[in-house]
């Protein structure tokens, strides 16, 4: 049997700026495809959180539970998404600052 941890969902919450990361801890059959069982693992990344540090903590926790680190390809997707969200955040912030400056 094989085990893996995949990122199942990346949830963006515009009201709070939080990003939810839903993962699945899966046990696979020897064919590497058939999922025999799966359990959820979650983490929330609030604005300003060091995502790399938090995901390292998640990987340590996964190891304690007998599961491997989050799949590399999924982690790359998460990093790309977080980068895009940060760019949007910065743009929105700049927009808000400009609007404030225009009022003054």
């Amino acid at each position: 049997m094989l085990a893996r941890t995949i990122i199942d969902r990346i949830e963006i919450e515009p009201q709070t700026g939080n990003v939810g990361v839903g993962m699945k801890k899966q046990v696979l059959a020897d064919d590497g495809v058939t999922v025999l069982s799966e359990q959820f693992h979650r983490t929330m990344l609030a604005p300003g959180t060091d995502a790399a540090d938090q995901m390292s903590r998640v990987n340590v926790h996964l190891g304690m539970m007998g599961f491997p680190a989050v799949k590399t390809e999924d982690r790359a997707v998460l990093d790309t998404a977080l980068g895009a969200i940060e760019t949007l955040r910065s743009a929105k912030l700049a927009e808000a600052l400009e609007a404030e400056a225009a009022k003054a």
């Binding site: 009201q15 709070t16 939080n18 939810g20 959820f40 979650r42 929330m44 609030a46 304690m64």
Partner: protein
């Protein structure tokens, strides 16, 4: 000696077929499931929910159930303690998240005087008026209760993924528990419930 004789109600229920029992429940108006749905659920090991919630605006509809684990942090919101053990589990039922966590630290690192908080709860809490959400501590070592052993009070804020720690004072407002006031090592076990 207990009697093996069935009551008339038990005998009546046993005499009904599955379909008749479903119709009996429906006629009593207790559920809104169709017979096909009930047959599906009775044939499965429990009631399945989709892995991604399909939210319902109906206050009488149970629209989510999920069990899982999460990885909590501890610190001042920016600088985290060094944790040798950080484990959390949760069950989400509808909009309620029931969670349990155990954290053991070996250093408070460069945590500052900002309020101590446990971060990275599994879901963001909601804002309902001015309500914050209670949590409770099962045991702890290394938190600053002061010499008068003031109570430590955790609570989850609104629109938040963190559980904040306060210290009670006698006939006075509670104090934020400073993240740099903890001992160099310690541990805490706590649980809570909040609404999403």
């Amino acid at each position: 000696m207990a009697s093996n004789k069935k009551t008339s109600e038990e005998t009546d229920a046993a005499a009904l077929t599955g379909a008749e029992q479903i119709r009996a429940v429906q006629s009593a108006g207790n559920v809104k499931l169709t017979p096909a749905q009930i047959r599906t659920y009775l044939g499965a090991a429990g009631i399945p929910f989709p892995s991604t919630q399909v939210p319902s605006a109906d206050a009488n509809t149970l629209d989510d159930y999920e069990e899982g684990t999460f990885t909590p942090t501890l610190g001042d919101g920016t600088n985290n303690y060094t944790l040798s053990f950080a484990e959390g589990s949760y069950t989400k039922i509808g909009n309620q998240v029931i969670w349990h966590a155990l954290l053991i630290w070996t250093s408070i690192g460069s945590a500052g005087a900002s309020q101590l908080r446990m971060g990275a709860l599994p879901f963001t809490s909601s804002a309902v008026g001015n309500i914050t959400y209670s949590a409770w501590i099962g045991s702890f070592d290394g938190l600053d209760t002061t010499a008068t052993l003031n109570q430590i009070m955790p609570r989850v804020g609104t629109n938040s993924t963190a559980c904040f720690f306060n210290r009670a004072n006698d006939n006075a407002a509670a104090t934020n528990l400073a993240a740099n006031s903890s001992s160099a090592s310690g541990g805490i076990q706590l649980s809570g419930v909040y609404r999403t």
